[in-house]
């Protein structure tokens, strides 16, 4: 089932001779449950694509249709609800709220909706991510790998349609990187999460079912892997 479609997606900074085309008429689609790696050189437009799909940036032109809804041009209030419920965004530098503890960070998307998660669901999530005994700790007291797991838990609390990860292992050592990738595979298999993952790590990319290569804002290659 198609979960994501990008049509003629373009993002341009500046105007005239100073214009920079971060994304140039990108067309792209993904089905539900796909694990897609996005690779490319620095400045190629990978992160821009991810941010546009996640609704945290707005395109110059084009469409982003997620689960049947075009989010381009959506009013900010509706878009924020969309970000809460439909998309999970994971950054390279975790981007946790340093003044909230692990549990508060994980529950943040639901709390923004004025809701609390079911205890069983929350317990299952934190168990799966190995965070059960660190719920009262603050981000400053966690290792890099633990912080990334908190960021993953936060992105999964609402069981979003799509999980977007922007170089999630870029700041981790090998062991934590492997563990993080294992978590992504688990989410993909257990929750049928559609995952778009930006990575420079070839090994990490090969763990995805599909690799998309972006260069100078254009989609150059789209290949299925042997996984």
């Amino acid at each position: 089932m198609e979960i994501l479609k990008c049509k003629e997606l373009t993002k341009t900074y500046g105007t005239g001779e100073n214009a920079v085309h971060a994304l140039d008429h990108v067309n792209f689609r993904a089905d539900s449950g796909e694990f897609i790696a996005i690779v490319g050189a620095s400045g190629s437009g990978k992160s821009t694509l991810l941010h546009l799909i996640g609704g945290v940036d707005s395109p110059t032109s084009g469409q982003v249709i997620i689960d049947g809804t075009d989010i381009v041009g959506m009013p900010e209030r509706k878009l924020s609800v969309f970000r809460r419920r439909k998309v999970g965004l994971i950054y390279q530098f975790y981007n946790l709220i340093p003044t909230m503890n692990v549990l508060e960070n994980i529950m943040l998307p639901m709390r923004l909706d004025g809701r609390l998660p079911e205890k069983e669901e929350l317990a299952e999530l934190t168990d799966t991510l190995g965070l059960t005994d660190r719920l009262r700790a603050y981000p400053g007291e966690l290792s890099g790998g633990q912080q990334q797991r908190v960021a993953i838990a936060r992105s999964l609390i609402y069981r979003p349609a799509i999980l977007l990860a922007d170089e999630p292992t870029g700041n981790l050592d090998r062991k934590n990187s492997e563990e993080t990738m294992a978590l992504f595979r688990l989410c993909n298999q257990k929750y049928n999460q559609t995952i778009l993952l930006i990575t420079h790590d070839e090994n990490a990319a090969l763990q995805a079912g599909r690799i998309i290569t972006i260069e100078d804002g254009k989609l150059m290659k789209d290949e299925v892997t042997d996984r």
Partner: protein, 913 residues
């Protein structure tokens, strides 16, 4: 708990330094708002309390006395809440007493309850039945055979002179007699704390009108308290009409209103639209509060901007995971509200107690002070209504919300990725502006950035570390805005306010130094002061001159032709710059006249000094043809007042010796009830003042005569009882060797041997200046306190901004160090940055402050700029200013020391994530 609230609370706990600045600013703003509102309210209450205490709790009175039989027409009127009655004054003839009479007026219960008479009671009790009286102290001190409880039966009647009844308050006049009309039995129940001057032949007493008995058959003075005071101006004319009273030629009913009290309640005379101004207390309260709100919105807005900016990334994260714009706004607003919750109640209470404390410390517990119009401060309620405090709290919270709204709204508008990457549209716009202006070109276009920029002032003065300091300061400019503003305000206020107040004080001192007389003795006596006493006073050390005189303000009505052409050419009444000349009509001028009666010796000396021929002097003394000397100069041209009023020293009137003029009891053309008049001949015209100082108004006229003539002229004035007309002045001028405090004590010692304590008063210019300075110093203290508050806010803001800014730029400093900048050079950079930070506000505010000083010197006429600068308390002010500026420097040094000692690699690792 609401997510925005949770986030806000966690942020406040985590960033205590920036929260401290916010907390302090909010505390101070709420304290000032409460102080302003409390002072406005208490001032309003004080005035109301004073008016009711001193002038009575009533709304209006009838100017004509009402016969007994007409009283029910008033009392039964449903609009009348209370009818206060006082009978006409009667005299009771005494025997074997120092003074000849008791003068008595009887009051009903409503009058006793509402008017200040009862506060005169010193001992005993106030009358409660017919026949009971309360009488003044002197009755007992001058006649020791009497005491409280005594009953006297005395002839009742009136004092008469030449067939005319003498009015209440008339001094003892030669030839007066007593015309009895009956008898009165009185019982003394109380002693009144009230003294009459020695020349007044009566002891004053108040009696009681018992409503259970028939009212005395006499006329009554009536005052009314109305059920609906807002309708006072409609009801009173109706009451007057019902009593068959008649309006005057202008249609005005014989009704007086307790205008001051009515205006305090916002009740204005609709016939006088020019009086429809709002209460000054209300204006002060509203404008003062708005001023505080505006000032602190500016200060706290910048603090919020810095705080919000430091949370940009986190708020971006919240946005990226689904926080709506409203939730982002709420996160910032909640931070402000939480700070307000913690500090506003404390600030409100402190503001309230600050004003209470200031009132008590400045005015003390004196029951009478010029500063507070003689109100009894002990009567002021201890509290203000809770509604007022709530209003103050609401205003303080509004200040916080207004301050936070802008930054909150801006943040809510950012896209999540801009916030996460900590790049705002403002930055991008700035970048595009630089692109368009050609300062920076995009790499893509191939153009190159200029290799070197021109070195700026800091670089030229301090080298490369100066350039680094200036660059880093410029990038963090916004963070320091609040600090710069507060420091600038502190310095400007301190210099400017202190300068202006010093100018007022110096101006007063200089003005007083121009006076001819630096000591004045006032005697309440109709008789001439004893010659022996005058001779003793002349022997006071340092005395240069002494003038004995009486004086009363009168008036003269002239025609336009009687104004001198030179006076008209110089500008006439328009010469006066403050607009006081607008009260004079050049077509039909009515001038206030200071009618002065000089002692024989002083009159002779004046005539000799002005070469007035002996025959003229003889004429002046002619009782059949009273004459006067016209001092033909407007009062405002005197040296003491010239700087203030700038009136040209020209002849004033075109009158000549031999002209006849009418000197009236009226001091203004529309004054009612002062019908006395004397027609006199001008015996001589001079241009020299008699060397006496009195309240000078620019267009008063001085007319001199002998003291005997003066007394004779007073007989025609209807207000014969006015003590002022019968006051004798002894004006003395001492040289610089005399200490005025000593001369005052010596003069008092001499005078007290002839006069009772209640009959004289000695005042020096030093007394005038001291009282003026007390008021000035109180205001100066407030101004310095307020400027110090601003300084404290500035310093705390500096601490917050500087430490926050240095922490935020840690990566930058550690990279500089890794590139080779030594710790000492880094510290030097911080010190230069601190100097650059404080220099701009210090210079601007110093210039503004000095400008205020120049303006003050111009406004207050007398002081020169150099004189004013010399009179200001520079050591204290400079010490405070350097303390405040130094605090910023110390903050930089302390924070810089921490940063300069951090290990490079670990810091880099931490900062780079």
């Amino acid at each position: 708990m609401n997510t925005s609230l949770t986030y806000a609370w966690s942020q406040l706990k985590a960033s205590k330094k920036s929260a401290l600045f916010l907390l302090l600013s909010i505390f101070l703003s709420s304290m000032l708002i409460a102080a302003v509102c409390t002072e406005a309210f208490l001032g309003w209450q004080r005035e109301g309390s004073y008016l009711r205490q001193k002038a009575g709790d009533y709304h209006a009175s009838l100017r004509e006395t009402i016969p007994r039989d007409s009283l029910p027409l008033i009392g039964e009127n449903p609009e009348v809440e209370a009818m206060l009655l006082q009978t006409d004054w009667e005299y009771l003839k005494l025997k074997d007493t120092k003074r000849a009479y008791i003068t008595i007026s009887r009051l009903n219960q409503e009058w006793w309850d509402s008017m200040p008479n009862k506060s005169l009671l010193k001992e005993g009790r106030i009358p409660q039945k017919n026949g009971e009286i309360m009488i003044n102290t002197q009755f007992f001190t001058e006649n020791t055979q009497y005491q409280v409880g005594d009953t006297l039966t005395l002839p009742a009647g009136m004092r008469v002179l030449d067939g005319k009844t003498l009015e209440y308050g008339t001094m003892g006049l030669p030839g007066e007699t007593f015309a009895p009309s009956g008898e009165m039995k009185v019982t003394i129940t109380g002693i009144m704390d009230m003294e009459g001057v020695s020349d007044y032949p009566c002891y004053t007493a108040y009696g009681y009108i018992d409503r259970s008995e028939p009212f005395p058959d006499t006329n009554y003075k009536v005052r009314l308290r109305l059920s609906h005071p807002r309708m006072a101006y409609e009801i009173m004319p109706q009451i007057a009409e019902n009593l068959n009273l008649h309006p005057d030629a202008d249609g005005a009913w014989p009704v007086s209103y307790h205008e001051n009290l009515l205006e305090l309640y916002g009740i204005k005379d609709p016939a006088q639209p020019e009086s429809s101004e709002p209460s000054p207390y209300l204006v002060f309260g509203i404008l003062g509060t708005l001023g505080v709100i505006l000032l602190f919105v500016i200060i706290i807005y910048n603090a919020f901007s810095v705080t919000a900016r430091s949370q940009l990334r986190q708020l971006g994260i919240l946005k990226s995971i689904g926080a709506s714009p409203g939730q982002i706004r709420a996160s910032v607003l909640w931070q402000g509200l939480l700070c307000a919750l913690l500090t506003v109640p404390a600030g409100i209470l402190c503001g309230f107690f600050l004003i209470k404390g200031l009132i008590w410390s400045v005015a003390g517990s004196r029951t009478s002070t010029d500063l507070y119009s003689g109100s009894d401060l002990t009567a002021i309620p201890a509290s203000v209504p809770w509604q007022l405090l709530l209003l103050c709290a609401a205003a303080a919270v509004l200040t916080v919300l207004l301050s936070a709204w802008g930054p909150a709204r801006r943040l809510a508008k950012l896209t999540p990725i801009e916030a996460v990457k900590e790049t705002s549209p403002a930055h991008r716009k700035e970048g595009i502006k630089k692109i368009k202006s050609g300062k920076i070109r995009s790499r893509k276009s191939g153009a190159k950035k200029p290799a070197f920029r021109k070195p700026r002032l800091a670089a030229r003065l301090f080298g490369y570390t100066g350039e680094l300091a200036e660059n880093t300061l410029n990038t963090g400019k916004k963070a320091y805005r609040a600090t710069s503003l507060c420091i600038g305000l502190c310095i400007t206020l301190m210099i400017g306010a202190v300068g202006m107040l010093s100018a007022a004080s110096l101006s007063n001192r200089i003005e007083l130094s121009y006076f001819w007389q630096n000591q004045k003795i006032m005697l309440s006596t109709v008789q001439d002061p004893p010659q022996e006493m005058l001779e003793e006073l002349k022997n006071l050390p340092g005395l240069k001159s002494q003038t004995v005189y009486r004086r009363v303000l009168s008036g003269i009505s002239l025609t336009k032709e009687q104004l001198h052409p030179d006076f008209i050419s110089a500008g006439g009444f328009a010469q006066e710059s403050q607009g006081l000349g607008d009260y004079y009509d050049e077509q039909t001028p009515f001038l206030p006249v200071m009618l002065v009666g000089l002692s024989p010796e002083d009159f002779a000396a004046y005539c000799e000094a002005n070469q007035i021929p002996p025959d003229v002097i003889q004429n002046i003394r002619d009782e059949q043809n009273p004459s006067v000397i016209l001092v033909n100069r407007p009062d405002g041209s005197r040296r003491a007042t010239w700087d203030k009023y700038q009136i040209a020293d020209t002849p004033y009137l075109s009158l000549l010796p031999g002209d006849r003029i009418d000197i009236t009891e009226k001091t203004s053309a529309d004054q009612e009830g002062a019908d006395g008049k004397n027609t006199v001949t001008i015996a001589a015209v001079t241009d020299t003042y008699a060397g006496i100082d009195d309240d000078a108004y620019p267009f008063n006229l001085e007319i001199l005569t002998t003291m005997d003539h003066y007394r004779h002229m007073m007989n025609s004035y209807t207000m014969q009882g006015t003590v002022d007309q019968y006051t004798c002045y002894i004006g003395q001028s001492f040289d610089e060797t005399a200490g005025l405090q000593e001369t005052k004590e010596q003069a008092e010692k001499i005078v007290s041997r002839w006069y009772g304590e209640q009959d004289y008063l000695v005042r020096t210019v030093q007394d005038e200046h001291t009282e003026f300075d007390e008021a000035i110093n109180a205001t100066k203290t407030l101004a310095v306190i307020f400027s110090l508050f601003m300084g404290v806010i500035g310093v705390s803001g500096a601490f917050s901004a500087v430490s926050g800014s240095i922490a935020a730029r840690r990566k930058q400093f550690v990279i500089l160090r890794s590139a080779g900048l030594s710790p000492e050079e880094l510290m030097r950079m911080f010190r230069i940055e601190s100097l650059l930070l404080i220099l701009t506000p210090a210079l601007i505010s110093a210039v503004l402050g000095l400008f205020t000083i120049l303006l003050s010197a111009k406004l207050f006429y007398y002081p020169t700029v150099t004189g004013l600068l010399a009179s200001m308390p520079w050591p204290l002010m400079l010490a405070l200013i350097f303390l405040i500026l130094g605090s910023v420097f110390v903050t930089y040094t302390l924070c810089g020391r921490i940063v300069s000692r951090e290990p490079i690699v670990e810091t880099l690792r931490k900062e780079l994530g």
